[in-house]
């Protein structure tokens, strides 16, 4: 008892066309591509009422995944509440009219989805939808498991998943352990990982530190010997630990994917490894057991996705690139904190924020270089490494 494939296609296509994440992804393609919708794959996951289907539609060669749920029209409003934007429309499921909608708006179906994605190994009582981004939606089950349900699909293995499984293989512990991967017809549809409640995004921790620093000193003109280090919310020890975690991440990546030589003319005295590629303060999380690397974005790992003519060869670059990304991220967060200050204290806030960035960039690097064995990836002394990172940060700043 479920809608027909053509009914799904007829409902999913107009739904996709009004989704911001779809529009964002397709914006780089010519409008002509947009007319080439095709139902590429369909699985009835739960047959009945309520029902659930996993629908893959391609546009050009871009595959999109939509989880479609359906119920009796009279029952649907109670389930969807104010999430009317999730409605796809009405159709017949073989025994009468049903209302179809994005299944992630339905808690019951989202909860049952966990068993589907983990081949029945995991079940949960509660689910909450954390966020819905361009490439995926995130759900948390019982504050214990975390599912990334992909919208824009990639041929399996998706780089993120490959990376995570490899890191697990070589015993890298500072990340969320992968639990299951939902794959069908050569596509990775969802990834389930463990979830650590109470983990806080690095950016929020950095903003807490900056708030203390700026709040403490801006109303006080007296010069201080070490005003940044002396601030109660000093972040440097945390950032040093993050540097250590980053070092062990790079060693694990080197072990998992090997080490290559850098092309001539690139950063001197550094090996080329598979790096994180999108390493910033939103990607790392402070937990009660230290830092973890929370997410691995897809795009930066293999260059721009999408057009199949582009190389899918993973990038091997200097580990300094990740260090520069994170250091640049410190600068961005500092700028964010300064921007929130009233204009009258802006100048002093900028001065302090610069000192904050310098101090924490240094601590991060110290933590990184202190990791045993890191010398085989970066054969630079501290000042040279600091100089190299600084120039990479400047390059990023001028590029934006």
């Amino acid at each position: 008892m479920h809608p027909t494939p053509s009914a799904f296609e007829g409902l999913v296509v107009p739904y996709l066309q009004r989704q911001p994440w779809f529009l964002a992804d397709m914006s780089r393609f010519d409008r002509g591509v947009w007319a080439t919708f095709q139902l590429a794959d369909l699985e009835i996951v739960i047959d009945g009422r309520p029902g659930l289907a996993s629908v893959v539609v391609t546009v050009g060669n871009r595959p999109f995944h939509v989880l479609v749920g359906w119920r009796e029209p009279a029952l649907a409003p109670a389930v969807l509440g104010d999430r009317q934007g999730a409605v796809l429309g009405m159709c017949d499921d073989g025994s009468g009219d049903v209302l179809c909608y994005d299944a992630l708006a339905d808690e019951e179906l989202s909860t049952r989805l966990l068993a589907v994605a983990t081949a029945g190994r995991e079940r949960a009582r509660r689910v909450r939808l954390v966020h819905s981004l361009v490439s995926h939606a995130s759900l948390v089950y019982d504050e214990r498991l975390f599912m990334k349900s992909y919208r824009v699909l990639e041929p399996a293995p998706r780089p993120e998943i490959e990376l995570m499984l490899k890191l697990e293989e070589v015993g890298f512990e500072h990340t969320l352990r992968p639990v299951a991967c939902w794959e069908r017809s050569g596509w990775d549809l969802a990834l389930v990982r463990e979830y650590i409640p109470g983990a806080v995004e690095g950016r929020l921790l950095a903003l807490t530190s900056l708030r203390d620093l700026l709040g403490r000193n801006l109303d006080d003109d007296r010069p201080k010997l070490d005003e940044v280090g002396g601030a109660g919310g000093d972040l440097s020890s945390e950032v040093r630990r993050l540097g250590e975690t980053t070092g062990s991440l790079h060693l694990a990546l080197a072990e998992a994917f090997g080490v290559r030589a850098l092309p001539a003319g690139d950063v001197p005295r550094s090996a080329a490894i598979r790096v994180h590629g999108d390493y910033h303060l939103r990607r790392v999380f402070r937990t009660d057991a230290g830092w973890i690397v929370g997410g691995f974005g897809d795009d930066p790992l293999i260059g721009k996705l999408g057009d199949s003519t582009q190389s899918r060869e993973p990038r091997f670059v200097s580990p300094l690139e990740d260090l520069a990304d994170l250091s640049y991220s410190l600068r961005q967060v500092a700028a964010e904190a300064v921007a929130a200050q009233p204009a009258v204290t802006r100048v002093q806030a900028e001065r302090l924020a610069k000192a904050w960035e310098r101090r924490n960039r240094g601590s991060f690097l110290s933590g990184y270089l202190g990791v045993g064995g890191i010398g085989r990836l970066i054969a630079l002394d501290r000042p040279a490494a600091a100089e190299a990172i600084k120039s990479l940060v400047t390059k990023r700043a001028t590029a934006t």
Binding site: R128, P197, G198, V200, L204, T208, R211, D212, G232, G233
Partner: protein, 590 residues
């Protein structure tokens, strides 16, 4: 003893819900105008302690002592220092306290004696006297070479040469405190005799000083050795057999995983202090983020049924920084002890109020944490007034100045001449007794003292604070610490819930037939199953969204004002906190 009027208290497990009050008898109240506080004086102040909401008084050492280490160097274990009174005074104090539902525990120093103790005087007199082997003697100072020196500021070694016996003796603390030799069964018997002596007098238990060091063995750190645990089990068995409802509270300044060994399988100490938690509460407030606290909570293993943590903000010792990393220690020194005089050994010798720059909001936040985190809170005398300290006094005397009762002469502590006082009371313009004293704070309904008393009242109404489980709630805002304390009600006959091995309840604690079984605490009629505590560790106002879906449909009631807050829905629950603000909510699970 007279039973407390508070509902739902287990007689045998009273310590699980008790609020402790640590005091220096010498510094509390002087009844005979000799400049030194005494038992008769303390007796006169029991009404105050009862009014405040104290369940148990922990007396700092009151034994005869040359006072090289605040009385922890005891020269006679079976009497009281003459300036404090006599044994009759102590018995009268215990009886009066019991009449008010207050218990009295004392310090028991098992590890060492004073070098003035007759045992040591005899032991050092020759190499073949009857007590020659009661202490640890050696011909050289090479033994136990890897053992750390605890009082590293003043003691160069754990060995000291004795001219008389021409041998070295071992001491983990000051050289005036020789360690007893527990490998000698006579020493064990003598100590057990001392334990019985005090319990026979009516003392409700002991705070066991320096327990990790009792046994020594070459090639080890001489800490936490198995033989020490065996001895503690023996002491406990003795107490359980002949002295029901008494308490062993261990001072083990170690990491939680090591400390929990002192609970044994519920057959060693009833309570242990949670040392690592304390500095981290201060650190969390300074860093304005919760991780210093949640990190140590995550590392704290579960403890056996019938056991409880003792938690505290400050005590008679320095704020010990042994249980933090070097880096964290530097940070704490930098933040809380910028003047080197504020430091001592590995720690900071300051009272609560000066530690928090006399900021009442921070003091309230820290007490809010103390009274709601797992464990029985131990208050240090005077901190309920936000008393200050005197960093110009030697050793730890700076935090042992007289209790400030009134704005009168000598802080109302003593009618002796000022010069006669055992230590001068504080007289500085901020913390001095003219401004900070019991009389003034009792008169002022908005004083810190009244606030704390009210918090203690609320705490006593909710056994969840004492024995409930702890669940830290996720919050995006790192400056907010939110957790739920919950007593778990399990259905079914007693001892038959899943996982139970049918073992009998400790101490024959009374249980109601057929009543729901609670984890540790009896359920009060109509008592809610959960208490939610939300604290803002920042000096700025903070918002937080909490995932409280489990309590969907329930209305949180703020515990101090009984104010109902908006109903919990399936959406994240939004709470806004004032700077250093704390909320305690009652949550009823549907």
């Amino acid at each position: 003893m007279a039973s407390s009027s508070r509902p739902g208290r287990h007689e045998a497990r009273w310590y699980e819900e008790a609020v402790f009050y640590e005091l220096l008898p010498r510094g509390f109240f002087d009844s005979n105008a000799d400049g030194v506080g005494d038992f008769a004086g303390l007796r006169q102040k029991l009404d105050y302690l009862q009014w405040l909401g104290i369940d148990c008084v922990w007396l700092l050492p009151f034994y005869p002592s040359p006072l090289h280490d605040g009385g922890y160097d005891i020269s006679d274990f079976v009497t009281v220092a003459p300036d404090l009174g006599n044994l009759d005074d102590l018995v009268a104090l215990i009886e009066d306290a019991h009449h008010r539902g207050i218990r009295i525990i004392s310090d028991l120093v098992m590890n060492h004696t004073s070098d003035q103790h007759p045992w040591f005087i005899e032991s050092r007199s020759s190499r073949d006297n009857p007590k020659a082997d009661w202490y640890m003697w050696a011909d050289d100072d090479h033994g136990f070479a890897d053992v750390r020196v605890i009082f590293c500021d003043v003691e160069p070694s754990n060995w000291t040469f004795d001219q008389r016996r021409q041998q070295y003796y071992w001491h983990r603390f000051f050289h005036q405190q020789p360690d007893l030799n527990y490998d000698n069964p006579e020493v064990v018997d003598a100590m057990l005799g001392i334990v019985r002596f005090w319990l026979d007098l009516g003392i409700d238990g002991f705070r066991l000083d320096a327990v990790p060091y009792l046994y020594k063995a070459e090639g080890t750190s001489c800490e936490n050795l198995p033989a020490t645990h065996t001895l503690l089990r023996r002491v406990r068995a003795e107490i359980d057999a002949s002295y029901p409802n008494r308490l062993l509270l261990a001072e083990v300044n170690q990491w939680p995983s090591v400390v929990t060994e002192y609970f044994g399988a519920g057959d060693e100490c009833h309570m242990c202090f949670n040392f690592p938690l304390m500095p981290r509460m201060f650190m969390a407030v300074r860093r304005e983020q919760r991780f210093p606290i949640t990190e140590i909570l995550a590392q704290t293993p579960p403890i056996p049924d019938g056991c409880q943590w003792g938690i505290f903000l400050r005590n008679h010792d320095e704020l010990t920084l042994e249980m933090v990393t070097d880096e964290e220690r530097d940070y704490m020194y930098n933040e809380y002890a910028h003047d080197p005089r504020m430091r001592r050994n590995i720690g900071i010798r300051r009272r609560l109020a000066p530690l928090v720059d006399n900021d009442r909001r921070v003091a309230e936040l820290l007490y809010g944490l103390l009274l709601s985190l797992p464990g029985s809170p131990v208050l240090y005398y005077g901190d309920e007034l936000l008393m200050g300290d005197n960093i110009y006094l030697g050793d730890r005397d700076g935090v042992r100045t007289p209790m400030q009762w009134a704005p009168d002469r000598n802080a109302g502590f003593s009618r002796a001449d000022f010069a006669q006082l055992y230590l001068p009371p504080l007289m500085d313009p901020v913390h001095g007794y003219q401004a900070v004293n019991v009389e003034a704070e009792q008169r002022d309904p908005s004083s810190f003292l009244h606030w704390l008393r009210r918090m203690l009242l609320v705490r006593h109404q909710y056994p969840q604070f004492a024995t409930g489980s702890l669940e830290v709630l996720p919050a995006d805002n790192p400056s907010v610490l939110a957790y739920v304390r919950q007593t778990r009600v399990t259905d079914g006959p007693l001892g038959e819930e899943p996982g139970s091995d049918g073992a009998p309840e400790l101490d024959g604690a009374p249980e109601l037939d057929g009543a729901p079984k609670l984890d540790g605490a009896p359920k009060l009629d109509g008592a809610p199953a959960a208490v939610l505590c939300v604290s803002n560790l920042s000096r700025f106002a903070q918002p937080v969204e909490l995932s409280l879906g489990r309590w969907e449909g329930c209305t949180p009631i703020e515990l101090l004002g009984r104010v109902p807050f908006p109903r919990i829905t399936v959406k994240p629950y939004s709470v806004t906190l004032a700077p250093y603000g704390i909320y305690w909510f009652e949550l009823e699970e549907r």
